[in-house]
């Protein structure tokens, strides 16, 4: 069954995914600097 996009679970999953992307970009930039130097 197709999950309702307005359900609490869908909302939470979408938010967590976006937060994980932001965190990955932040850490990625810093650690790429470490490996470069």
């Amino acid at each position: 069954m197709k999950r309702d996009r307005r359900s609490a679970k869908s909302v939470r999953n979408a938010a967590l995914m976006l937060a994980a992307i932001a965190l990955a970009i932040y850490l990625g930039f810093i650690f790429s600097g470490f490996f470069r130097s």
Partner: protein
């Protein structure tokens, strides 16, 4: 009916809490939107006061009003406060107020995180402003914080870094909230391409925010570790590269420019159809144009640093990529103009601001193409021409759109019509003074006046005098804006109808004026006439 909506129904009969708890513990998108907008208004005046100090010092040649160190603090703090404290929170406030109303959602998707997003900001700016009182004074290296200069900042340095981290956190959480709201909370009938253009512009802006605010956070974290933890990311003496900071900063900084203008495009795309009484011309092409601008914003960053020394291939790539942005921007300007073509136009204050945006932002766009040309930019770089360029983009661009949006939706927020006569006086004074202030800066830059200096050669005196007079007039004119807004908030003026304007399109006009505390507790069926202009 979904769980989230059903849960919301258990407490939909109470109104707002009383006293300070309503604001401190706010989870209602309208209350949080109001707080964002008021906060940005306060910051506009704080940053504006700093602009007045700058223009007072530059009124005539010589050092007479402040010392050079304080002048540099003024330019740095003016930029940081206007960008992160005034323009961005104003757009987030508009998003909070209008996105749920425009897509038929009961609130933002994550109301408690919304509270946190807002309340971080006053703390961040208190920390930033408190640096005026620490040894060494406030940051003075320019808002771009280039090392090694920024590492000479006094005790303010860690406060600067921390406050920027907080602002970034607030922006990222706000962006997550906006994306999830738009993707997950739309009324069932509203497909993505039926969304109003303001919602579209914010969806793309929010993706930009999530992509680049962590980059800024990473860059300033590396500055922090260079200063306090012995790393050498940007220190040449330790094997690092100061130019790398510029690359990372502008990889954030250029999309940031579009973060400050895409929602303005969305606002103008709402206002012009209403007052031209015609559907927006080329709705879908507007969406593609915004998307194209957002994509291009990631591959043009080094046009901010043509003079650092980079391979010719790099210069050519960034020059041509930058010029490409003029294509989707031209599509948008064409579409706004075509929307007005043979429309039954009227010129209420929001429309005046939208029209001024169209003319004056385009001037900023043209000077943007000029500075994109590498051989010419070698001359323009770090001159007042650049100051003129980005102020034309940000003041009659972003700020005019925000003011137009406030006039456009204020009757929906407060239930009162603003004083049209005062609105028009405010508009004309603002539009005239903004040109008196910033147009002479083009000439100053072309004649060779560098930016960020408290003193200048006497041949620049006349244009600087004119610019300063314009700035004082511009600053004073904004008091009318405050009076108009406060009057409506205090319930003065005639009552606004639910539609407010002449048959505007969009779900926000289907709810009463003022919009009740809770709206769209049941997802609305979207009437044909309220559909977006597709």
């Amino acid at each position: 009916m979904s769980t989230a909506v059903a849960d919301a129904h258990t407490d939909d009969h109470h109104g707002p809490e009383k006293g300070y708890r309503r604001w401190l513990f706010a989870t209602n998108h309208k209350d949080i939107g109001t707080m964002y907008l008021l906060f940005s208004l306060v910051m506009l005046f704080v940053g504006g006061a700093m602009a007045m100090v700058i223009r007072t010092e530059l009124l005539s040649p010589g050092l007479q009003f402040v010392n050079p160190e304080f002048f540099n603090q003024m330019t740095t703090m003016h930029a940081l406060i206007m960008i992160f404290g005034a323009i961005m929170p104003a757009f987030v406030g508009l998003a909070n107020w209008m996105i749920p109303l425009m897509i038929g959602a009961p609130d933002m998707a994550l109301p408690r995180m919304n509270n946190w997003s807002f309340w971080i900001l006053p703390g961040a700016f208190t920390i930033l402003l408190a640096t005026f009182f620490v040894p060494g004074g406030a940051p003075a290296s320019g808002w771009t914080m280039y090392p090694p200069l920024v590492l000479q900042t006094g005790d303010a340095f860690p406060f600067l870094i921390f406050s920027i981290h907080l602002m970034g956190l607030s922006s990222i959480m706000g962006a997550i909230n906006i994306i999830v709201t738009i993707i997950n909370m739309r009324a069932p009938d509203m497909s993505l391409l039926k969304m109003p253009m303001f919602v579209w512009s914010w969806l793309i802006t929010a993706y930009l925010l999530i992509a680049v605010m962590p980059v800024l956070a990473g860059a300033v974290t590396m500055l922090l570790t260079d200063q306090f933890f012995g790393t050498s990311f940007f220190l040449a003496a330790g094997g690092g590269d100061p130019v790398m900071f510029q690359h990372i900063f502008w990889f954030f900084g250029h999309p940031e420019v579009y973060i400050m203008i895409l929602p303005a495009f969305g606002i103008v795309s709402e206002v012009i159809p209403t007052f031209a009484r015609k559907p927006l011309f080329g709705h879908d092409s507007m969406v593609y144009a915004i998307s194209a601008i957002a994509f291009l914003s990631f591959i043009v960053w080094a046009h901010h640093m043509f003079t650092v020394g980079m391979p010719l291939t790099g210069q050519l790539f960034f020059m041509f990529a930058t010029m490409l942005i003029a294509v989707p921007t031209g599509v948008k300007v064409f579409n706004w103009t075509a929307t007005m073509w043979r429309g039954a136009m009227s010129f209420e204050t929001p429309m005046l601001f939208a029209l001024a945006f169209l003319f004056l932002f385009t001037i900023g766009g043209f000077s943007g193409v000029m500075v994109a040309i590498v051989p010419a930019d070698i001359q323009y770089h770090d001159s007042y021409f650049v100051v003129a360029h980005f102020h034309y983009v940000l003041v009659p661009g972003a700020l005019f759109a925000i003011m137009g949006a406030v006039y456009y939706w204020l009757p929906k927020w407060t239930g009162r019509m603003y004083d049209e006569k005062l609105g028009q006086i405010h508009f004309w004074l603002t539009a005239i003074f903004v040109n008196v202030t910033f147009f002479p800066m083009h000439f100053l830059g072309l004649a060779g006046m560098p930016r960020r200096i408290p003193d200048y050669a006497t041949q620049f005196a006349d244009f600087n005098f004119i610019a300063s007079i314009g700035a004082f007039g511009f600053g004073l004119s904004q008091l009318i804006f405050v009076y108009v807004v406060v009057s409506c908030m205090r319930g003065r003026g005639r009552r606004a109808t639910d539609e407010v304007w002449d048959q505007p399109k969009g779900l926000e006009w289907t709810v009463p004026s003022p919009a009740p505390f809770h709206t769209f507790e049941v997802p609305p069926r979207i009437p044909e006439k309220a559909q977006a202009f597709s």
